[in-house]
């Protein structure tokens, strides 16, 4: 197989990872940053699960009718990762709500400026 066909899944993962990373560092809105972080996390799920797939295999539920199974171990790890990801998202959003109530905005530049202003006055 050419390098493209055999590594295609990794490159899609890298593309999604790069997109998530770009959103986190290039956008100032806090909610959008959190969405970018969650996109980054889902690309990592793909990174783990794609190598576990065996062409011609089936889902890892044992049954007499199938002989070849895809690898169940990454599934277990990623199941945990998904749940931890949403825990992080929930906490992040709670902090964003508190920031909004304290500063009146969720844009990063406005918050930094407000902090600098507050620092000068003190």
């Amino acid at each position: 197989m050419s390098a493209f066909a055999s590594h295609y899944t990794y490159w899609i993962t890298v593309l999604l990872m790069a997109a998530g990373l770009y959103i986190v560092i290039a956008r100032g809105n806090l909610v959008k940053k959190l969405i970018g972080l969650s996109i980054f996390q889902t690309s990592v799920y793909l990174l783990y699960i794609a190598p576990g797939k065996l062409i011609g295999g089936t889902a890892p539920i044992l049954s007499a009718a199938f002989k070849v199974y895809s690898n169940p171990l990454p599934h277990v790890l990623i199941l945990t990762a998904i749940v931890v990801g949403i825990a992080t998202l929930a906490l992040g959003l709670a902090i964003v709500v508190r920031i909004r109530e304290a500063y009146g905005s969720i844009e990063e530049d406005e918050i930094v400026a407000a902090d600098a202003g507050r620092g000068e006055r003190e």
Binding site: I12, I23, T58
Partner: protein
Amino acid sequence: MMAATVFAIIVQRNLFSVVVLAGVYSFLMATVLVALDAVDVAMTEASVGAGISTVLLLGALYLCGGEEAKPMQRAWLPLAVTLVIAGALVYGTLGLPAFSDPLAPIHTHVVPRYLGQALAETGVPNVVTAVLASYRGYDTLGETVVVFTAGIGVIALLRRARRASKGAE
């Protein structure tokens, strides 16, 4: 399609449409996961990513306001950093095993034992549940505690004294 969705998320500035697009992205990811035989993970990703995540984001947006400001001035710098990192990652993936290679290390160490012994030792045909709840049950305990901690954290952050809202900050 996922690349197109992500590009739309980057460009869009109305946050409500970004949240809907994130839900679409989660459903597409769940579909890809089914194609990769990860049925448990796909069910979790679909329910958590497209369901709960969307509800929480909409709740947060209701409390915060729904437009994003214009992007910052030097937009080329993050783009350059991202492209450099992506290039390094692509270079790194060239050393990884090819797709669906049965001799890859991921398939040869512990997994044959799990697949072979799970039915005999635990009596549960779904190997993912057997590994999650029995072989790696300690990790699942840790994960349950993480969820519990997230719940407590949100309670601590968002609890407010009744009738003391305006003067509390």
